[in-house]
């Protein structure tokens, strides 16, 4: 495969699509699919066959506004329809190319669409994720060919470094630095691993990227393999994501067939292949050393670092581990240049970030915004604010390792440093909005229950500490706690955070610490007045009111 051949495929695909008349696109990502968008697609296809004007029905990836699904778009023209049912099919096909159907139309002028900047999700909802030609027609694999034929591996690492890209799995480690470390190791065998074990509750970014644009992740991994000198890649995917797994297998097969994966890619000396590994539903496997153990077929328990995987990873070999979104950012950076990417975002956090916006917010779904946008803009403009006239209380970022941010900090920009200062973390991108019907002590207990259940049990601070903290939080929620319990809880938070082996235990106290920092009065109310102002906990007075 050369650049010319690639361009020939791209041109052929574009021409065929242009000649095919209007395109009716149906979202076939998990959200809409569970609303039976597959049946909707069949109904549309049936109508399209009957119609006189040419009209083609395609299945695509996620269009973003999942809470309004199933979503359908009609191109050209950019018409978007929401909550579409199979019985709407005749009207949609009839109107394709003419006046849009007002009763189903979802305006693209709203902030939800207008305020986003798409890089990782640029193809999401626009192309058929099971057709590699469509990815190629959207400039896919151009970055890879550029890297392989025009750049040295060192130059690729340089480019990524200059872009300022940082790890999108949550910790924000500079990607270029990580690549450079693996590249410098002297080893004939190295591995590239894509961490798609998206386990944070409230996070579905990786799922959506894998379901909507799997080739992008493969391209990012191949470029990484070239840059660091690896010839084998593993994609570690959650077993809970069967659709993503299926689309990845298809994507890998297609890429191999075109010679974009395999031996001597694009006629160069570089060979690279990717194998999918299915996770087993253990949250701790998102931690890199646990993930490596799992790929080796063992129980996914973490080990102390150093040595870091960059030095000693799978079977003791240097291993580069990045998250799905990080790899998905790479093709655009290589194709369009580091300067272009670095112009987006804030001085320390470049580019864009994908968030899964959910909870008590009007527009639920997947969004991509430049780093540095404020929480208020994300929640109230893009998200449309809190529904049912309720009052905003907090936004939870970073999952069980993150924290809850209250209203007074809504104007802070979203970047790695700001969120850390606020006692939370960027995390992988889950953003769950809470209103005044949520009890913050109860939320802290919810996350502690999660960490307790998911603790692998290898180190005692995490195994026993999370259980003790959960017990104390339960006592507070039930109105059985004293001030002494609260003191003990705080000291346990310090101990578990300081002495746990891996990130799971080290960050497990975060939800408690952040809610204590901003909502201490709620803890005290539970203890002193036996009262839960949100009416969630069954403690003393609240329970009486309900009875």
């Amino acid at each position: 495969m050369t650049l010319e051949e690639l361009e020939r495929i791209a041109a052929g695909t574009k021409n065929a699509r242009a000649a095919g008349g209007h395109e009716v696109n149906v979202c076939l990502a998990a959200g809409c699919l569970s609303q039976h968008s597959d049946a909707l697609k069949e109904a549309l296809e049936k109508e399209a066959r009957k119609a006189s004007a040419s009209c083609r029905v395609r299945g695509t990836g996620c269009m973003g506004l999942c809470s309004a699904g199933p979503l359908v778009s009609v191109e050209p023209g950019g018409v978007l329809y929401r909550n579409v049912k199979p019985e709407d099919a005749p009207a949609i096909v009839r109107s394709a190319g003419g006046e849009p159907l007002r009763r189903l139309q979802c305006s693209r002028d709203q902030a939800f669409f207008q305020r986003q900047v798409h890089i990782v999700t640029e193809n999401s909802g626009k192309l058929d994720p099971e057709k590699i030609e469509e990815y190629i027609a959207a400039d896919g694999y151009k970055g890879m060919i550029r890297a392989l034929t025009e750049m040295t591996p060192a130059a690729v690492v340089q480019e990524i470094s200059r872009s300022g890209l940082r790890g999108r799995g949550g910790a924000g480690y500079p990607t270029g630095l990580k690549w450079g470390t693996v590249a410098k190791t002297d080893s004939a065998v190295k591995y590239v691993v894509c961490n798609a074990d998206e386990g944070d509750p409230g996070a579905f970014m990786d799922r959506s990227v894998l379901e909507s644009d799997p080739q992008r992740v493969l391209e990012g991994m191949i470029i990484a393999g070239y840059a660091v000198g690896a010839s084998r890649g593993y994609l570690y995917v959650r077993a809970e994501y069967p659709l993503a797994l299926k689309r990845l297998e298809t994507a890998i097969g297609e890429a191999r067939q075109l010679g974009l994966l395999g031996i001597n890619i694009c006629g160069t000396a570089f060979s690279f292949d990717i194998e999918v590994r299915i996770g087993g539903g253990a949250y701790v496997c998102g931690e890199e050393t646990a993930l490596i153990a799992s790929i080796e077929g063992k129980r996914g328990t973490p080990r102390p670092r150093p040595p870091y995987p960059a030095q000693s990873g799978i079977w003791g070999m240097p291993t580069l581990i990045n998250n799905v979104e990080t790899f998905a950012s790479v093709p655009a950076i290589v194709r369009r240049g580091a300067e272009w990417y670095a112009a987006l975002g804030t001085p320390k956090s470049k580019g864009t970030k994908v968030f899964a916006l959910s909870g008590k917010v009007k527009n639920n779904g997947l969004i991509e915004v430049p780093m540095g946008m404020t929480l208020r803009e994300i929640i109230f403009e893009i998200g449309g604010g809190v529904p049912e006239g309720r009052k905003f209380k907090a936004v939870q970022t970073g999952g069980p390792s993150g924290g809850c941010i209250p209203e007074q900090f809504l104007d802070r920009p979203v970047d790695y440093e700001s969120l850390r200062e606020l006692g939370s973390i960027m995390g992988s991108g889950g953003m769950v909005v809470m209103d005044d019907t949520s009890c913050m002590v109860n939320v802290a207990r919810f996350f502690m229950e999660f960490c307790m259940a998911e603790s692998c049990g290898k180190c005692i601070p995490c195994r026993a500490g999370t259980a003790q903290m959960h017990e104390m939080l339960t006592r507070i929620c039930d109105g059985r706690a004293t001030h002494k319990d609260l003191e003990m809880l705080i000291s346990l938070c310090d101990m578990v955070g300081a002495t746990s082996l891996c990130g799971l235990g080290q960050a497990a106290p975060n939800p408690v610490l952040s809610t204590l920092r901003y909502f201490q009065d709620e803890y005290l109310e539970h203890i002193e007045a036996k009262r839960c102002r949100a009416g969630v906990c069954e403690c003393g007075a609240a329970a009486e009111v309900r009875a």
């Binding site: 569970s34 579905f204 077993a239 799992s294 063992k298 959910s358 909870g359």
Partner: protein, 168 residues
């Protein structure tokens, strides 16, 4: 000597064992194929029984304790046969703050079992899930693979009662 000469015999002439063998062969019967192979077994048989664990462990030359350790470490593997019906209640953050705990409590009440358990007659299992990644549809409940968006406790109750009634 070929690798296959040392392989244990298939547990039965059930054709599914050949597919299990195929997975192991694809990985050259290497030890690291353990998780992949257990996935294949669970996909074909619905769960991992003692016989399957012994067969896979012997084929990959992994101590039985390690196979059992892996099978019990990962939530996805089940050592018990699946029930006739399965109800999954998502307990992810978005579902939780939208009332998933009430849905789970109602399901426990109707079925008379705790999460992770099956009704004594094997009709239905109740499972609390970490996060299904369908947060936009919260709270999410899955009845036999079918996703119910924004489910209410009443809907959950009706659905489960129907399962129980059919069995009677």
């Amino acid at each position: 000597m070929s690798v296959h000469a040392a392989q244990p015999p298939l547990p039965s002439d059930d054709k599914r064992w050949r597919i299990v063998n195929g997975t192991m062969r694809r990985h050259g019967h290497a030890r690291q194929a353990l998780i992949e192979t257990l996935h294949t077994v669970q996909e074909l048989f619905g769960y991992l029984d003692e016989e399957a664990l012994k067969f896979v462990a012997a084929s990959l030359r992994v101590p039985l304790s390690q196979a059992y350790g892996v099978a019990t470490f990962y939530h996805f593997f089940s050592l018990k046969p699946p029930a006739q019906h399965e109800c999954h209640v998502c307990m992810g953050t978005a579902c939780y703050i939208k009332g998933a705990a009430q849905l789970l409590a109602r399901a426990e009440e109707v079925l008379g079992v705790k999460p992770g358990e099956t009704t004594p007659n094997g009709t239905a299992s109740l499972l609390a899930e970490r996060c299904m990644g369908s947060c936009s549809l919260a709270p999410v409940t899955i009845f036999d693979g079918e996703v119910a968006r924004e489910a209410s406790a009443k809907q959950v109750q009706e659905r489960l009662e129907r399962w129980l009634a059919h069995d009677a």
